[in-house]
Every structure is written in C-alpha cells, then in structure tokens.
C-alpha cells in the first residue's frame, strides 16, 4: 500500500515571523477560496506553542501550516487524503502545492514573507507504509531526486533524518537559489 500522507516544508528566508498575522490571512483564503481545488475549512492558531505548528489552515484534503518547528519557520504542506497516482506524481503534487502556497504567502503584503528554495524537508506521516528506515529511503530516493530536479534543477543532495520513532523524513539540499516562482515555472 502506497503512502499518500506527504509533507513538504520550505523555509522562510528570515527567522523572524509574526504568526498572529497569519490568522486573518488564512481566514481570508477560506473566504476567497484561494486554493480553488481544495475544500478549506478553518484556521487553527497554535502560536502559543513554542516550536509548534504555528498557524494552520485546515482543509479536507490537506492542511497548510506556517510552523516554527525547530525554531525554523516555514510553510509546511501536509496532504491528508484524496490523492491517486504513483509515487513520483504524489511527490510532484506535494511539491507543487507547497510551492504554490509559498507563492500565495509571498503575495500577502501584510506578511512580508519570502521563501528559500535551497532546502526542502520531505516527510511521510504514515509509519505503516513508510517507516523511518533505510528501506523506505531506498524506495523514495529516486522519485525524490527526480521531483527535486524537475522543480529546482541542478544536483540535489538528500539525507534521511530522524530515528525510527519519528516519521520518515528526508532533508533535501536542492542546490537551487532561485525564487518560488522560478521553481513553479520550471515544472
């Protein structure tokens, strides 16, 4: 059984972030249906939790976090359900949605956010299908490399991170230094 609960995180260029400003922005995204092919439901505000999920745009298919885990703010796309396709297509879709959300955030002038494209954290929240183990890494590595190249170009380096208690995670140094828009345009 192939996992579909993929998460993709792109980091902000600067570490200072005012999470409370995200709340009205995400509410407006719901009202304006900014992510038009997904059902957006509500906003969960966890700004009070240190190194936590920050502010979460809760959807039916996916959640969008601006999180501060490890004190490194970023946009975390988290697919929960509703994707059909092979592994590569699944990773591509997660990359695209994460980048698109970053682009939308960059367009919000009240936030003043910019995202870096040189590093991506990829995770699978499914310990049954994708435990944090070498075998999983071997299975995901080719598709991850292909997707990274397709979006970011250049030679990427991948590193499995975390231990077996944690979800399967790969830190990708993309080798890119372009913008989010560049990455979206490339694919």
């Amino acid at each position: 059984m192939q996992a579909t609960k993929f998460q993709v995180k792109l980091y902000t260029k600067t570490s200072d972030i005012e999470l409370e400003k995200l709340v009205p922005v995400f509410h407006e995204w719901i009202r304006a249906k900014k992510i038009s092919d997904e059902l957006l439901i509500d906003v969960a505000d966890y700004a009070h939790v240190p190194q936590g999920p920050g502010v979460v745009l809760i959807g039916h298919q996916s959640d969008y976090y601006v999180d501060v885990a490890d004190n490194r703010p970023g946009l975390l796309y988290s697919r929960k359900r509703g994707f059909e396709g092979d592994l590569r297509a699944g990773i591509d879709d997660a990359f695209r949605r994460a980048l698109k959300a970053c682009q939308l955030l960059e367009e919000e002038s009240s936030l003043g956010l910019a995202f870096a494209t040189n590093e991506v954290l990829f995770r699978v929240q499914d310990r049954l299908s994708a435990p944090n183990a070498d075998a999983t890494y071997d299975a995901y590595k080719p598709a991850l490399e292909q997707s990274t190249a397709a979006f970011f170009g250049g030679a990427a380096s991948l590193e499995r991170v975390g231990d077996e208690r944690e979800p399967f995670a790969v830190r990708i140094s993309t080798g890119a230094n372009g913008t989010v828009a560049d990455a979206l345009a490339r694919h």
Binding site: K5, H27, H48, V49, A69, R127
Partner: protein, 747 residues
C-alpha cells in the same frame, strides 16, 4: 504489512480488538445506509469519536454562512453531522497516568491523523482534533496495543475516572488512591449497569480533604481517602457537577470501607440508571435526581440497591495487591544542588513539589492552553525514561506532572525542558490558566475561551514577576459556554462565554464569575458579577486585581475578600467597561480574540436607526438583568427565599419582554406571562437553544409550576439564580435569533 490490524496482531487485547472490529463494521453499515443516524451517533460517541465545530457543513466566514461542500455528499455520521467533517477523538487516560509507550503512540497519532497537537483536557484526557471518522478504527487499534481504550470517553456513560496527580507521592494524602481509581475504572468499563444512563457520569478520587487536586465536590461521584482506626476507606460524595447549574456534591457515606467502594459505586449506578431522568437531557445528570429525591432518600435507595447486588469477586480482588500500580523511580534519591542556576530557582518555585519520599520531587510541565506537540511528546517520553520512570500524569489544570524526580537530577530535568521550550514557570499561578476548547473547535462554544486565555497569558507573562504575590496566586479559568468544561466556577476569577446584541450586531462577551474556591476540593463556586465584552476582559482582570489589592485587609484571600465586599462592589468596578463602543467607533469589539471574522452574522442589516433606537425588548432584558443582580445581592445577605423569588421575577420579566416583542398582548401577572411564553415561545420552539433545546425555558416553566422558589433554602436559591442566569442568556440568544430572522425576511 498492509494494515495496522495485521501489524499489531496479538498486541491488541481480544476484547478491545473485537470492539474495534464491531465499530469498523458499524462504519461500513452506516456508509451503506443500514444504520440509523442517532444510533450511529451514540455508538461513535461511546467510543470517544466526537463532533467538532462546523461538522454540520456550515460555517460563517465573516460575511455570512457558507456551505462546506465535503465530497461525501449526503452521508452523515449523526443528525446534522457530515461524514467527512473533521471530528475530535477523546482518549481516556484513567487518573491521568500516561506511560512512556502510550505517550509515544499518542504523539504518532497526533501527527499522522491530527494536526501534531496533543491537548490535555480538564479531566485528564487527551484530545486530538480534526480526525476523519474512517481513520478512527486504526487509531483505536494503535491505542489498544498500548493499553488505551477510548470506550465510553463520551456518551451517556462513565467518563474518565480522575484522581490527584500526586496520588502516591503526596505529602498530605491519607493513602494512595491510584489502585482504587484503577479498580473502579476497570470494573465499570462496559459494565451492564452503566449502559443505561440518561447522561454522563463522572467519578473523581482525592487523597485528602484539603488539597484541590481531586476536585471531588463537582463530580457525580467522588471519593476522598480516609483512614479510621487503621482501616482504609473513603468519604463518598454524590450528585456534584458544574455545567449549566453547578451543584456541590452531597455526602453519601461518611466512611465507606475500601471493600465496599466498588459495590457502592455499582449500587449508585443502578439507582441512577433506574430513576434518573431519561427524556429531558437538561435534568438528566445524577445531581438532579439527588436534588429531586433528597440525599436521605437517595442514600436509602442506594442501600436498598446494594442489598440486591450479586457478589462479585472483583469488588475486593484488587485489594490483594494494592502495590500493583506502584511506580519505581529510575534514579537514586538526592538533594537539589545548592549551586542551581537562577533560572532553575524561578522555575522550581512553582513547578517543583517535594514528595512524601525524601529526595524526590514532582515536576510540573506547564503546557500553554493544555497543548504540546508530537515532537515534544516524544522528547518528554524520553525525558521520563531517562530521569523519572515509565510514566507521568496529565493534570486537571491541563499540565503534565513528572513524579519521582531525584533532587540531584532536578537541574538536568529543567535544562532539558529549557531545550524543548517547555520550562515555563508559574504552575498553579495566575498565568497557568485553564480553558475548554471554546469556539476554536467545540460545537457548543459561544465565545473564544482559548483566544481569551491566550491573550491573557501573553499579557500577564510579561509582567508576571512584577505582580503582587496575592495576585500571582489567583487562579483564572475560562469556559466558552455555560457547560463549564473550563471549570470556571472553581476559579478565583472565572469567565464563561455569552453573546449580546448591540446596535443590531452580536458582540462576544464573557460573564465574569468571581470568588470560586479551588482549594478544599473546590469547596465553593463563584457567582456571576456581570457580562463584559470579550475585548474588555483583560481590562476587567486589571480592575478586579487592582481593587482587590487596594482594599483587602491584611492577608485576606480573594474568596474572603469577595465574601466581605460582595458582588455589588465588583459590579461597580466593572460597570465602566461593560458597554462596548458602537461598531462604527471600534469594530474590533465585534470580533472575538484570535478570530478576525466578525462575530455577528454578516447578513444582519444595519439600518439607519439600528444604533439609536433601543427596542422595548432590550429594556425588558436589561430590567431582568437588574432584577437578577438584586436577587444575587439578596442571597449574599442571607435572604434565600427572596433571592429565589427575585430570580423567578427576572425570568418572568425577560419572558414578558420577548412575548411582547412578538406583538402578543400580555398582562403583568406571572401566570399570564408564563402561559403566553409557553404558547408563543416554548411550544413554537422559538426559545429553544440549538443544542440545549427547551432546557432553559423549562427552568421557568418548572419554577412557575411548583413555586418552590417561595420557600427556597440557600442551596436551592443558588441553583435558582444559576438557572435564571441561563434563562436570561437564552432570552438574549432568542432575541438575537428573532432579530436575524426578521432581517432575513425583510431582505
């Protein structure tokens, strides 16, 4: 492996495995349309799978109510509950004891099925939000594999059994109540005698009389440890509860020997199942049964029932090994280093408690709004494993307590918390607020209790060190509605969410409840002083604490101060901030904390005169509020019957205002008002609350019918005042609905 069922195999106990299979089967039947909505709803509730806000598929985005179009179409998981809508899973953690392995699994579920947040409730449960119902069975399997069941976490059954987090290590306990709480949990779980309740049933244990941890007085059944003549037993109380009408539990048995505890609980359950209200949920908790028959008759009924019970070896089997629940420290006892850093000293002042066992301490990890992340969960599990042992305890103040911390390791423990950003001091102080989920996720929330407590935390944490010790020591708690899950009645300063109609718009408010007592097992409850706009609550806290500090005598406690000066004085203190500015002047008052959406439903038209003309009904509601305040003053003055009569009068006034608003001619006498209220507002269900239905109207109808207010005791008067308060809230809500309906019709 292709499924968790296969993966976990025989790690899941047979009985739990069977229950999950059954639930999974019921999910399939429901999807095939072969199971009734109400039956399925109760089925999932009894398994801890709860509804969540917007699960009716409707959400107001600040400009009007919009439909959330889930892919499931018409499929529902209960009446007005859309199948695909996110729900909440409540996970029972008996007496709050969480093992390392359990915390690790909970953390996994939080990130795989929820939003990476674990939320500790005020009854020592863990809640995960935004769960899809079809993921629930596998979650239950994973929980079952580490000894956790969600069975009867919700629904009309025995809820999580709670107990002091210091049980076994407490310096003031009579004895460790843990094995007794464990035994009663296991005995009553799924017991046939607890399956036919009209409402939920909550049990709590306390190791001693004076400390608050067990909070038995607001539980359906409470047990306080006692030793008499060298024999262990419990003072057992029954019929307590918070909710809409808070009631102090009554003594059922001054001393129940330990071997009689389980049969006594069983007998109480049978009486409750047999005689408790089943039709009206509003009066179905056991407190109403105890009130109705009187505690003496209730005792007789229980004694009679006890005689009919067939002996069960489980009643006493657990007594053979009362040490089965003992915990073993992993480190040698030791002293706290004398050169501990200053930061540690500050943290330890409120977060470290000496245990009964020399050289060991209990450390409280203060959780902001009861939340922690899955990553923190795993790190805390490791921390326990390394320094304190195999378990920790969730607390009713929404924190985590680690026991058996050697003094020699205390600084290391603190430093590791610091690295996790979890070394916040001030446990049990004014900054350690508890809150129910409120409008964040709860279907019943009226105001943003979490938004409010978050805001208060932000403001107070900045000035915490500068606060006077008497203010630091105060407890604040917030509930998003009258159901009181935030336990605000037992706080020095409590808040409960209400809404008000101002100039044609809704404004979020909180009723300020002052003078509740947390100590002595929550010995007394606070009383409502008045409603304050949500955005003025921080100012209210400032005014209340300033007034207290300026006028207290000596070391007078807040409760004693409140009892001396009375609510009337505090009402004067709050009066200047009770009226919100017009929308045009400051629209921020018209949205709630942490939520930028306009609180009012956007399709209410704001006419030219809306801000200037005050309709008659508003005068009537205002008059009723004043009458209720006067009634509260009468109670303070020891005039119980006058207070109850005043409360009834306030209800009649509010009812009259609403009846007249419907353009119905009504006389001034209460018989005519109540008759018209019944015809035009109760029978038509116009007064009905969307969730509580006719509950609040029935307060008036019952009171008018039995006239019991005329000779009310102090306790009855207290209840009458609470009921009148709720009736007035419902009257405000009814008026809002009528206004909205009229505006919609006009459009």
């Amino acid at each position: 492996m292709t499924s968790w069922k296969e993966q976990l195999g025989d790690r899941i106990p047979d009985q739990l495995a069977g229950e999950v299979e059954l639930f999974e089967g019921q999910i399939e039947l429901k999807k095939q349309g072969k199971l009734d909505d109400k039956i399925f709803a109760e089925t999932r509730l009894r398994r801890g799978v709860y509804g969540q806000r917007y699960d009716n598929g409707l959400r107001d985005d600040g400009t009007g109510q919009k439909t959330l179009t889930f892919p499931c179409g018409d499929l529902t998981k209960g009446p007005d509950t859309v199948w695909d809508a996110p729900g909440m899973m409540r996970i029972k953690i008996p007496f709050g004891k969480l093992t390392v392995e359990q915390l690790e699994v909970l953390s996994e579920l939080a990130e795989e099925n929820s939003d990476s947040i674990l939320h500790v409730t005020t009854r020592q449960d863990i809640q995960l939000h935004y769960i899809h119902i079809e993921e629930a069975p596998d979650m239950m399997r994973r929980l079952a594999s580490v000894g956790i069941t969600t069975r009867e976490a919700c629904g009309n059954s025995v809820r999580n059994v709670t107990a002091c987090e210091y049980a076994g290590v407490c310096t003031t306990q009579a004895f460790d109540v843990t094995p007794y709480a464990d035994a009663i949990t296991k005995y009553l779980l799924g017991h046939p005698d607890v399956q036919d309740f009209g409402r939920k049933f909550k049990i709590a244990f306390s190791g001693c009389e004076d400390n608050p941890c067990g909070l038995v007085t607001f539980h359906d059944l409470g047990a306080v440890a006692q030793v008499r003549n060298g024999k262990r037993g419990f003072r057992v109380v029954v019929g307590g509860g918070l909710g809409a009408v808070p009631v102090q539990a009554k003594v059922l048995a001054e001393f129940c020997p330990e071997e009689e505890l389980l049969p006594l609980a069983q007998a109480v359950s049978r009486v409750f199942a047999r005689l408790g209200e089943k039709q009206s949920r509003a009066r179905a908790r056991i407190k109403f049964l105890v009130q109705k028959v009187g505690i003496d008759e209730f005792k007789r009924l229980v004694a009679e029932e006890r005689e009919t019970l067939r002996p069960d070896e489980r009643w006493t089997a657990f007594l053979d090994d009362l040490h089965s629940t003992d915990e073993k420290p992993v480190r040698e006892a030791g002293e706290i280093p004398s050169d501990a850093p200053a930061g540690f000293q500050t943290w330890a002042k409120h977060n470290l408690k000496p245990q009964a066992q020399d050289g060991y301490f209990s450390a409280i990890v203060k959780l902001p709004l009861g939340d922690f992340t899955s990553t923190q969960g795993r790190a805390l599990a490791q921390l326990a494993q390394d320094l304190t042992g195999d378990s920790m305890r969730c607390t009713v103040e929404q924190n985590l307590t680690f026991r058996w911390l050697s003094g020699a390791d205390a600084v290391t423990f603190y430093e590791r918390l610091l690295a996790l950003n979890m070394a916040e001091g001030g446990a049990g102080t004014i900054t350690d607020m508890t809150s129910c989920p409120g409008t964040d996720t709860c279907k019943l929330g009226i105001s943003a209790s979490r938004g409010l407590t978050g805001e208060l935390r932000n403001r107070l944490s900045v000035i915490e060190d500068e606060l006077h010790p008497a203010v630091q020591a105060l407890r604040m708690k917030a509930s998003g509605c009258f159901n009181s899950c935030g336990q605000h009645h037992a706080a020095d300063i409590g808040f409960t969410g209400v809404s008000r109609q101002v100039g044609g718009r809704k404004v979020p408010h909180f009723n300020v409840v002052l003078g509740g007592q947390w100590t002595e097992n929550a010995k007394s409850y606070g009383l409502v002083v008045g409603a304050v706009p949500s955005k003025n609550i921080p100012k209210a806290v400032e005014l209340i604490t300033e007034y207290y500090l300026a006028n207290r005598e000596g070391e007078e406690s807040f409760q004693a101060f409140m009892a001396r000066v009375g609510k009337r004085e505090f009402r004067k203190v709050l009066a200047p901030i009770q009226k919100p500015p017009p929308y045009e002047e400051d629209p921020s008052y018209y949205s709630d904390w942490g939520n930028p959406r306009e609180y009012t439903i956007g399709d209410i038209g704001v006419g030219e005169c809306a801000g200037e003309i005050v309709p008659f009904v508003e005068f009537g509601l205002q008059e009723a509020e004043q009458q209720l305040h006067d009634a509260q003053d009468a109670l303070e003055a020891g005039q119980a019957a006058a207070a109850a009569t005043g409360a009834f009068t306030a209800m009649v006034t509010a009812a009259k205002a609403l009846v007249r608003h419907l353009e119905v001619q009504v006389k001034d006498d209460s018989d005519d008002v109540v008759a018209n209220f019944r015809t035009h507002l109760y029978d038509t269900e116009l007064f009905h609350d969307p969730f509580a239905k006719g509950k609040f109207a029935e307060y008036l109808l019952k009171m008018h019918g039995d006239q019991s207010y005329k000779s009310a005791s102090e306790e009855i008067a207290h209840s009458t005042l609470d009921e009148a308060q709720l009736f007035l809230e419902a009257a405000h809500a009814c008026y809002q609905r009528l206004t909205e309906a009229a505006a919609a019709a006009a459009e």
